[in-house]
């Protein structure tokens, strides 16, 4: 017996020891199917992180399915729906958040859209910060490359903060020191009894990018020095620092080039800016690049196409078969009326009857040819899909008669520039149109504003007339009884214009002779027409309000006046007829309540709601 024990003990002990040692070691399991910091902190890893940061320009970030409309890269909800450019569309309360935004009734109960916007912007910001953090820890990156990566990352970081500043105003600035690991995510927007001013930090990012980015980049989609300069100028425009802006804008106009090295110029044809085969032309200062049929679609999102605008297509049995959102307003369409001199009605009388495209007693005068690239109208060709008709409108009570065009694609582009990755519910509405974030027309019109405020009215007129002259190029108009060439965005034969088009430059000296106030109106109108439905209108009105040329309360006046007329038309405000824009409040949107709840969950106030919101 004892001999048995003698055997059992050492064998048992040895066995147990071996088991414990071997099994404990087996607990060191590295994650599969993902990269570790050690894989990423090198040159190609940092390059990859930078690409990942650009990705957020689309506004589409899909850790949680469903994010997109409120955060669309085109900003159509905030920039167009909430202004006088367009209606939300669909039925009155499909996407109730958009209803609240459009009727300026945003309160803490309806925060999903603003939360989408907020969280997508910070995702972009933190991805840019990831580049900066990684480049510091990485090995094997030359100092030139380091500078380049950081400069591009700071450009993007500045871009996202500027967007947040426009939408939320009191938007905390998050630099690379703010991180989950540093446990300092409760970044305040309110300190020592006042909201924090983040302009200097945004400017610092763009300034760094201007200083350190080259003019020409190996890839057309990258930010270059000129793009950085344009966005720095945009900051100054919002800060009403016209001289500072003008200095930069003049430089861009004098010597700016695209990332591909092409000197900036206006496209000969207006539509070239919105036609996917013609993307990244000489007018593109900075754009969000999109792609389709690249294996990126999932059940929850449309991948790398223009996901944000997925709802903005004709309803039901109309082409593309969708949802009928973002309908150009009656007011916007009327703004394209031109007088006998081919000039817009700067006095606001464009909004009087008769109305363009009215069902009875329609306007028979002339219109700006850009109208038919901005809005699809009944009886006018929707590219090569046929004539737009009323059945394409989802709810005739609230949606008007028009559909957005700048984000849409033509029938012959279907499958090439539109997605066929159909596991996603709305594949046909995902296309590869660029989202223009800044185009040269934008730069010219900013500089025109600067000239009016701190320079020469004649020079302002020159810039405006450059825009108008391009629009008057009849090769880029819409024609009836003509075939649409989707690679050039033109019709042939060009015999029957789709409407009675008449557009002319301002007569030489008109600005100077009519004075500064007239010139401001002309430039502001030109911005509205040229950049219609591109998500800028709300922010232009905001910029021209307090501190700007139109003064405090001007935005409220424009929009309340807009509602007072639109509520008598079949439009969004016909149904939501109690909408009121409150000056001093609705120039900015509410900070999402969930963010306030989250940052203030310790009981201390880090994040303070914007004034006037509950």
């Amino acid at each position: 017996m004892k001999s048995k024990i003698k055997i059992f003990i050492p064998v048992g002990v040895l066995l147990i020891a071996v088991i414990i040692y071997a099994c404990d070691k087996k607990l060191n399991i590295q994650p599969q199917g993902a990269l570790l910091t050690t894989n990423v902190y090198n040159n190609s890893g940092v390059q990859g992180l930078l690409i990942g940061a650009y990705k957020l320009l689309s506004g589409e970030d899909v850790p949680a399915p469903g994010l997109a409309y409120g955060s669309a890269g085109s900003n159509y909800v905030y920039g167009s729906n909430a202004a006088d450019d367009s209606y939300k569309g669909s039925t009155p309360s499909d996407q109730p958040d958009a209803t609240a935004i459009e009727s300026w009734a945003l309160n803490q109960a309806t925060t999903q859209y603003v939360e989408e916007k907020w969280s997508v912007l910070y995702t972009g910001i933190q991805r840019a910060n990831d580049v900066i953090r990684a480049v510091r820890l990485a090995t094997g990156i030359s100092s030139a490359d380091t500078t380049e990566y950081v400069a591009e990352a700071r450009f993007l970081r500045g871009f996202f903060h500027l967007d947040g500043k426009k939408v939320f105003n009191n938007f905390p600035y998050v630099d690379e020191n703010v991180s989950y690991a540093n446990n300092n995510l409760n970044v305040p927007n309110y300190e020592n009894g006042a909201y924090v001013n983040i302009w200097p930090k945004i400017e610092a990012d763009f300034t760094y990018a201007v200083t350190n980015l080259p003019g020409t980049q190996p890839n057309i989609g990258r930010a270059n020095k000129w793009a950085a300069m344009a966005f720095l100028a945009k900051c100054y425009m919002f800060e009403h620092r016209y001289s500072d802006a003008k200095t930069l804008l003049d430089q861009i106009i004098a010597g700016g080039t695209t990332a591909g090295g092409t000197p900036y110029s206006l496209e000969p044809d207006y539509e070239a800016n919105f036609n996917p085969p013609q993307k990244n032309g000489p007018e593109s200062v900075f754009a969000c690049q999109t792609s389709v049929n690249d294996g990126s679609s999932t059940a929850n999102d449309g991948g790398n196409g223009d996901m944000g605008d997925v709802l903005n297509f004709p309803y039901g049995q109309g082409p593309i078969g969708c949802c009928g959102f973002n309908n150009p307003s009656w007011n916007l369409v009327q703004a394209f009326k031109t007088d006998a001199n081919g000039l817009p009605y700067l006095d606001g009388s464009y909004n009087n009857s008769p109305l363009v495209s009215d069902t009875i007693n329609a306007w028979t005068g002339t219109v700006d040819p850009r109208l038919d690239w901005v809005a699809a109208r009944p009886g006018k060709p929707f590219f090569d899909w046929g004539m737009e008709e009323d059945s394409w409108i989802r709810d005739p009570n609230s949606d008007g008669r028009f559909l957005p065009k700048k984000n849409a694609y033509s029938k012959s582009q279907q499958g090439t520039y539109s997605s066929t990755e159909t596991v996603f519910w709305g594949a046909t509405q995902i296309d590869a149109n660029n989202i223009n974030l800044c185009r040269y027309a934008d730069v010219l019109l900013w500089d025109a504003e600067c000239e009016i405020e701190v320079g020469s009215l004649d020079q302002a007129e020159t810039y405006v007339n450059m825009i108008r002259t391009r629009a008057s190029n009849s090769s880029g108009w819409v024609y009836l009884n003509a075939a649409y060439n989707s690679s050039t965005g033109t019709y042939s034969p060009q015999t029957t214009p789709a409407d009675n088009y008449n557009i002319k430059p301002y007569p030489a000296g008109a600005f100077a002779s009519n004075g500064q106030a007239y010139a401001r109106k002309a430039v502001q109108m030109e911005r509205r027409l040229e950049l219609a439905m591109e998500g800028h209108r709300f922010f232009d009105l905001q910029r021209w309000d307090q501190g700007g040329p139109n003064g405090a309360g001007s935005m409220a006046a424009v929009l309340n006046n807009y509602v007072s007329v639109e509520k008598n038309r079949h439009s969004f405000y016909y149904v939501v007829n109690t909408a009121v824009f409150t000056p001093g409040v609705n120039e900015y949107f509410a900070i999402p309540q969930v963010e306030i709840d989250a940052e203030n969950s310790t009981g201390k106030v880090f994040l303070k709601q914007n004034p006037g919101y509950q």
Partner: protein
């Protein structure tokens, strides 16, 4: 770390060695004899086991009841046991003839032996909280998901089930024990596995270990409780059993109460009028009164209108569709009677050297939801071989199944609705088919955007959802040195699955109706292995009984799964855009449309992004000591190491202590005749949990995923550059979720074994909850790690009582009955949150405002939002009430919780609790002559439900979806001072029907009607349900026995005969959701449908 563990191992070995030495050296030997008789009839009992307690020395009585046994050392306790009798124990005093020993007929369950953690115990020796499930009752209902049968069968166990065939159920032991996953650990024959697909006929026993005393031997995996399942083993006579059942399930008689098209038209007109607008509608016209059209395509047409001529039919441009003027019953379009069958055959037998069991089962259930079904084939082979005089036992348990379970999925590619929610969203003016027999739908203009329920289901009919799985183990046991048993077991599971789905072009929909078709396939496997070694020492001397067990366990889990999609398949039937299933392979799709994904899989209760791998290594020990069969003490300890934590946090140690006192064995209670058994027991212990934690939690990870981080930097429109993004932040400091349980229980058997009862009070404190707390948006999009964030506690009472009754001479025969009641009650409370955090908001999937909030003092899952206190009756009411956004007559008035006279975010409050106050089950079994009767009642009391269906049907300002009849009929009517209809903005507007709680119909959504998360949809969810009634008849007779029949029984059964509830939805037992957000009814597959079943049980000897 290796040093530390090495030391621990050494210590364990030294302890083992001490035990070895202690027991060495006993050698004297005597022979004892005796005779065993039954106490009541004095008849000899043959085959009774006579054993020296704690040893392997045993023999059996022969035909005259006598026995003879060699007793080493001549000392110890002799235990005589026989099925159906109480054990008798005799302490040896040196005499060799023990004389006549009388055995008492057993009725109590005290001597039943239960498998608990790594060992087995008699019920009377158990000191922890263990519920024993009556397996016969468990089998009383057919189900494709075996875990659902636990509902009401064990105290302390709460089960939420779904009506979907093969649908998963949620099992909670003692309430919500985690904010993540509360699923208990299920151990089947020693292997962690799922109860879901086990063949219920194979089950020998089910024990539920509820407290730390019972479960902490399972350490990290035990905190949600442990369900121990033992499968049947063979043995005894060779027998063949056949059990079969066929049945039919009926859909609910009534779906939701919805408005018919005439009511809908009138309600639509009211919507406009209440908002001061001129009514008009694409379908109902623009007259003073709505007109129900004859056709919905062409839009709003009357008979004879242009475009209604069938010759003008065209799929997209003129899909001519008649209006269903009476209102289509969509609910019964998708719910139809369905059949079910369950066929089981088993063969078992054995000799002294070996035993075996083979069983085969076929289960098939069609869902009442059309085109859903479960088909499962399963087989089990269990065998045991004993060698060397039973000193060595080698065996295996093996279970394999194949199942096909297509059906109730959220159809991919379909916007925001499954077919059941679509059935209450789609307007009932739409028929199922257009005039050509193609699907009609919301493509007919102005009717919302719901997808078509019948189309959703029909299009899934050929989809596959297949699982292949094998699990089991092989084991070897060796008895040595008299007191020792060493055991090793290697087991595991292997699962392989295949799914496919074809997504058709849904031409009938309002939106996305021209999407090209596509096809997806998913493949994957999951695997787990478990290797357990244990050494047991058992010794009995004098009045002492000591068992010591030590062991090691290594578990590893891994899996991989991939899904691929291609689009643009060749359309084989152009009239309705379908593609023959023969072409459903990837190569027929367009290669340029291919997308690939690593899938997220859920397997055995764990959800992981594939590929995944994680492992667990544990050392465990257990000591049970009894003195004089009166004082019981047990302690366990387990040290777990898990790969999901960083090395510094990797190991957790989980101890427990329990003690029991069998008071009824004390002399002062020996003469209390009504008291048969009384035991008081209590325990304390600590458990851990890592359920649902991401296996890579400690690591910061980067992803390279096309839709997340690729960007077309070259402007190609088709070829984006690959980019990276931070996928998750890791946290190396995350550690174990700890779960401390205190348990006090009383077990009693009284009134001459007629009543068994067990009552327990417990407190369970879960500290360091593993949870992903809400962080500010400044974090960016990377997911955050699980943190130990906060504590919750459950206190509760479990109660079980059984009454065994006999009524003599009912028509000259005895009537036997057994009634068992169980009661489960717990109170859940958040005890603390991370320092500085006052609350954690729970936001529903898809975003928006929180529905619930974790806050100290509140129950997990409590609903949080604005509390509706009524409707504003008129403008005077609005004026005198606190300032509220969009307040107007006929709209909601919210409670001013903080009394600051303004309704804002600070007025959100906890207005409902989805946790039941208690749940209870009542089993009644009666047998009389050859008849047997069984009834099972289940009740849940005191839980609240959010009837989220109303958010769609009661607020037409949503999408223009279908309205409820209630809202069409009883919504607040807005009139002016002279009683004429007016709009809400009229200064004289008032509510004409002040009793209503339904807000006025409106076109616009606002804070005071539908956009704020409020208590309008709150309802009481209490219910009582008759789950089963079964009536059986046993044909057995001497003649049949001669024909080798041991059993021949037929039965008839009705399931869900009635439900008593005030809840207005389909089924008050709603899907559970998550542990922090549940009790929300968005249109779940009802589980209260009636079934009628007919069955037979046959056993041949």
């Amino acid at each position: 770390m290796p040093n530390k563990t090495g030391l621990f191992a050494k210590r364990s070995c030294i302890v083992c060695l001490l035990f070895l030495l202690l027991t060495y050296g006993v050698r004297a030997q005597n022979t004892i004899t005796g005779k065993v008789l039954g106490r009541t009839d004095n008849q000899p009992i043959a085959g009774a086991t006579v054993q020296i307690k704690g040893t392997k020395s045993a023999t059996q009585t022969i035909a005259d009841g006598s026995f003879s046994l060699d007793v080493p050392g001549g000392k110890g306790v002799v235990v005589i046991s026989f099925v159906g009798f109480e054990n008798a124990e005799i302490t040896l005093t040196g005499a060799s003839n023990l004389g006549t020993i009388l055995l008492t007929t057993s009725t109590a369950t005290l001597n039943q032996v239960f498998v608990t953690g790594y060992t087995a115990q008699r019920k009377k020796d158990i000191t922890g909280a263990v519920s024993v499930v009556n397996v016969d009752d468990l089998k009383s209902m057919p189900s494709g998901s075996t875990e659902s049968l636990l509902q009401g069968q064990a105290s302390g166990v709460t089960v939420f089930t779904t009506g979907a065939p093969g649908g998963a159920s949620v099992v909670q032991i003692r309430g919500i024990t985690s904010t993540g996953n509360s699923a208990p650990l299920v151990i089947i024959d020693g292997v962690p596995a799922s109860l879901h697909d086990i063949n219920v006929n194979d089950i020998q026993s089910v024990q539920v270990l509820k407290d730390a005393g019972a479960a902490s031997i399972y350490g990290v995996r035990g905190s949600n409780g442990v369900i121990i399942v033992t499968s049947k083993k063979g043995g005894g006579k060779f027998r063949i059993s056949y059990d079969a059942m066929v049945g039919t399930q009926q859909p609910l008689a009534h779906g939701w109460k919805l408005a018919n098209p005439t009511q809908t038209g009138q309600a639509k007109w009211l919507q406009y009028e209440n908002d001061g607008l001129v009514p008009s509608d694409k379908q109902y016209g623009s007259g003073a009164q709505p007109v129900v059209p004859d056709y919905i395509t062409p839009t709003g047409s009357m008979a004879g209108a242009p475009g209604t001529d069938p010759s003008t039919y065209a799929l997209y441009t003129n899909q001519i569709t008649l209006a269903d003027k009476g209102g289509n019953d969509w609910f019964h379009d998708i719910f139809k009677p369905a059949s079910m069958t369950d066929q089981n055959i088993s063969v078992s037998g054995g000799t002294e050297k070996s035993s075996f069991l083979f069983a085969f089962n076929y289960f098939s259930q069609d869902g009442t939801l059309i085109d859903t079904k479960l088909q499962r084939y399963s087989a089990r082979v269990n065998s045991v071989f004993s060698l060397f005089n039973d000193h060595v036992r080698i065996g295996e348990n093996l279970f394999a199944f194949y199942k096909s379970n297509p059906g109730y999925l959220n159809a991919p590619g379909v916007n925001n609705a499954n077919s059941i929610s679509a059935a209450y969203q789609i307007p009932n003016i739409i028929p199922v088919y257009d005039i050509m027999g193609n699907y009609a739908g919301t493509g007919s203009a102005g009717l919302g955007n719901s997808p078509q329920p019948v189309a959703i289901q029909n299009r899934q009919a050929n989809n596959k959802n297949q699982d292949y799985e094998i699990y089991g183990n092989a084991f070897a046991e060796l008895d040595f040195l008299r007191h020792f048993t060493v055991r090793t077991s290697i087991g595991g599971t292997v699962n392989y699955f295949f799914n496919n789905a074809f997504i058709y072009t849904a031409y009938e929909n309002a939106e996305n109706n021209t999407n090209a078709n596509s096809y997806q396939e998913q493949y994957g496997w999951n695997s787990s292995t478990i290797w357990t070694n244990s050494l047991k020492y058992n010794n009995v001397w004098d009045k002492h009984n000591l068992t010591v067990l030590g062991g090691t366990e290594y578990i590893t889990n891994s899996g991989r799964a991939v899904g691929t999609t291609r689009g643009n398949y060749y359309i084989t039937d152009s009239s309705n855009l379908t593609v023959s299933p023969n072409l459903w392979t990837l190569n027929f799709g367009n290669a340029s449309t291919q997308t690939n994904q690593n899938l997220i899989v859920t397997y055995n209760g764990l959800t992981a992004q594939t590929p995944y791998q994680f492992a667990l290594f544990s050392l465990f020990g257990r000591l049970d000591y009894q003195y004089n069969d009166k004082y019981l003490f047990s302690t366990t300890i387990r040290r777990d190491g898990s790969s999901v934590f960083s090395p510094s946090q990797r190991y957790g140690i989980f101890p427990s202590f329990t003690a029991g006192w069998r008071i009824s064995r004390e002399s002062f209670l020996q003469n209390v005749s009504w008291l048969d058994e009384l035991k008081i027991r209590g325990g304390w212990g600590k458990l851990g949990s890592i359920s649902n934690i991401n296996p890579t939690n400690a690591y910061t990870l980067f992803g390279q995923v096309a839709n997340q981080s690729y960007y077309d930097i070259n402007g190609t429109s088709t070829s984006p550059a690959a980019g990276l993004y931070t996928q998750q932040y890791g946290n190396p400091n995350t550690s174990w979720e700890k779960d401390i349980t205190t348990n006090i229980g009383i077990d009693a058997t009284i009134l001459h074994n007629r009543i068994d009862l067990s009552i327990e009070w417990y407190k369970k404190l879960i500290s360091g909850l593993l949870f992903v707390p809400q962080v500010p948006g400044t974090n960016g999009g990377a997911s955050d790690p699980f943190l130990n964030s906060g504590d919750i506690s459950n206190t509760g009472i479990d109660f079980a009582i059984t009454y065994h009754g006999n009524v003599h001479n009912v028509g000259q025969h005895d009537l036997h009955f057994d009634i068992t009641g169980t009661l489960t009650s717990y109170k859940n409370k958040v005890v603390s949150l991370p320092p500085g955090t006052q609350y954690i908001d729970i936001i529903p999937t898809g975003g928006g405002t929180p529905f619930s909030r974790l806050q100290v003092g509140q129950a997990a899952g409590a609903f949080f939002g604005y509390k509706v206190i009524g409707l504003f009756q008129n403008w005077a009411d609005v004026q005198k009430s606190p300032k509220q956004d969009a307040a107007a007559p006929g709209r909601f008035k919210y409670a001013d919780v903080n009394h600051d006279n303004v309704i804002d975010a600070n007025d959100r409050t906890f207005f409902g609790n989805p946790n039941p106050k208690f749940t209870t089950g009542l089993n009644i079994g009666v047998s009389y002559r050859n008849f047997d009767f069984y009834m099972f009642l289940y009740a849940s009391v005191g839980n609240d439900i959010l009837n989220d269906v109303k958010n769609s049907t009661d607020f037409p300002q949503g999408f223009g979806n279908q309205m409820s009849e209630n809202v069409a009929v009883s919504a607040a009517k807005i009139v002016n001072s002279s009683g004429q209809p007016t709009n809400v903005n009229d200064p004289t507007a008032q509510v004409a029907n002040p009793g209503t709680n339904v807000p006025a119909l409106e076109v616009n959504a606002n804070f005071s009607n539908s956009t704020a998360f409020n208590s309008y949809t709150l309802e009481s969810g209490s219910y009582l349900r008759c789950r089963t009634i079964t009536l059986g008849y046993n044909f057995i007779s001497p003649e049949l026995r001669k024909l080798h029949f041991d059993r021949l029984r037929v039965y008839f059964q009705v399931l869900n005969l009635f439900t008593v509830t005030k809840y207005s939805g389909l089924d008050p037992q709603v899907n559970p959701g998550t542990n922090v957000l549940f009790g929300i009814d968005g249109g779940a597959y009802p589980n209260n449908q009636k079934s009628y079943n007919l069955g037979v049980n046959v056993t041949l000897l």
